[in-house]
Amino acid sequence: MKQLMLGNEAVARGLYEAGCSFVSSYPGTPSTEITEAIAKYPEVYAEWAPNEKVALEAAFGASLAGRRAFCGMKHVGLNVAADPLFTISYTGVNAGLIIGVADDAGMHSSQNEQDSRHYARAAKIPMLEPADSAEAIAFAKLAYEISEKFDTPVLLKMCTRVSHSQSVVEPGARVEVLGEYKKDIAKYVMMPGNAKRRHPVVEARTRDLVAYAETAEINRIEDGEDKSIGIITSSTSYQYVKEVVGNRYPVMKLGMIWPMPEQKIKDFAASVEKLVVVEELDSFIECHCRDLQIPCVGKEWFSCIDELSQNKVAQQLAETPVSGVKLDAQIPPRPPVMCAGCPHRGLFYTLKKNKLTVLGDIGCYTLGAVAPLAAVDSVICMGASVSGIHGFSKSQNGAADGKTVAVIGDSTFMHSGITGLVNMAYNESNATVIIVDNSITGMTGHQQNPTTGVNLKGDPCTKIDLETLCRAVGIRRVRVVDPYNLAQCDEAIKEELAANEPSVIISRRPCALLKNVKHKAPLAVDADKCVGCKACMKIGCPAISIVDGKAKVDATQCVGCGVCEQLCKFGALKEV
């Protein structure tokens, strides 16, 4: 039966139908829903791993054992998983292994705009790229066939617009696939002698895959009436191209983006007057065409910055539609903000008040960098706050002591903060790490993690104790504060910064959006007491505004966290 399905759910459906029975992933927008969706199928074991490297190695283990496996992540997650990726390319697989990676052109929810296609070429692994939900199902199934036929892991590349758009699909039935583990030291033990024998196998495999790409149905040519231009494209760019040119120009749609067919591209180029490559982000297909000595137009028409769209394509290949009216008014931006009642707010206020240098990390608490808090000095990648604060502190020979902290979330700490903390203990830096423990992975939409005591399937499981863990890696000073209590936060931060050894403060309070969190009644402003000093505005709470010179609390948003109440010297903010 036809139904609408999100691209990511369609990937999960395809995996399910193909008999995938093991999934290990780390959440990351826009990839998260693949793993959330597949966890709903009882036939499939699915888990959140602490990070993408662990997840890929776990998925490889399942493949080795003879089970079709999957590992999902966002583009930057593939950097973390790159170490096993390059060597799994050499070993190949036993049962099929798919690595799902979702790029975020336009950076809707990411720290960079990297193009994951380069990994396919660099690691010599085939990459399929669906353009809608129906293809997501079909390509996930095909990826297992390719994986097993060519003895290779397969990258399934998504992007925000394919991952997060629903389109019409017709789900099919599941097939069960059960392989057996076979010991094969020469294939699976990658010490130099064996690896030297595997590298030529990988090169031969790529040549075989090029031959496959020449005739594969997923690399198709859609004919057009006007041969003055021929277009090579893939993924969501294909959708923009078809929207704009319809059947006017011939279009080669690549479903397999690596390796690419050679003769097929040469023949296509020869059949048209001018070859145009329409692709998002980097000049990946374009560079391949140039390698094949085929002249083409690419990035000079379509920027490597930001997403493409039908109008950007139309600008070069047709007529751009007339825009609607732009209002003659200054429309203020509406950036994302910490929610009302967010437990991170009180902590960041305290950091700002103490004028500290704050190395931040990846999560909702990155929003601590947004005005009026503006309390974060750098954010790079998962875990960089802890490792970075060590370098910052050590390099200053004590001059930065007492002035710098790292802030990292519970899930991010488990992902890659622990190794940085080990470095701090081992190499004895005198810095303070604050773990903002909101008992969930917040930004990606509430995924469980090793500190929550609940697994992906929703069952209770071993809960990693952060205090014990920090002490075990060699940090002697570990304490817990409630970020709703500003005086307690202030005292803890001052004491730990004054101490002459590394320390960890766990700022613990569950995310205000969690369904099981009980909130107090909203606060209200006593207009007789409010003098309009705006002290309560310093925390950037979306529930508080100044109306006619007095503070006003939006009762529909306020969850009664009481942080603003502690800032009011006049007792004007009170429970109703």
Binding site: R161, S165, V168, Q239, Q310, P321, L327, Q330, R334, P542
Partner: protein, 191 residues
Amino acid sequence: MMETKNIMIVGVGGQGSLLASKLLGRLLLTRGYDIKVSEVHGMSQRGGSVVTYVRFGDKVYSPVIDKGQADYIVSFELLEAARWTEYLKPGGKIIVNTQQINPMPVIIGAAEYPENLAEKMAAAGIDVDAFDALTLATQAGSAKAVNIVLMGHLSRNFDFTEEEWLQAIAESVPPKFLELNKTAFSLGRNA
């Protein structure tokens, strides 16, 4: 061949635009259209400006709507309607809840919330249908039903029957909120 119709649903992260698009998707599927619905997940959901694109027709390619293409812009909030006017097609229509939610730059005094936006849009020649969906939602039993009130109002522009809409609502909301949402739909449709 039917030309693709484009509906943008815009608002503030957390206002419930995902349910509105889910409802539209279910409804349109019953007529056998090709459909694409594009959503925003992740950081923007934390109180930022959010947009959902719903497109339907015989064959829909792009999952997004670009400038000058929207037949309807349904806005949960006044400033957000004003933000997206360039996306409206000539002859398109904006349906907007007159609720105002201050963005952080306004809250901290770094920017001002423009005045009389509905009037400004109308003066710019835009077909604006502005009404207080929040009050109607509250009347139906929950401020969160603004999304269904807006869908009720949008429904007047399509030839789907009220029964077809209500069936799609029944498939999209939990049973215990069905009556509330039916009331919200009806209030929006008749507003």
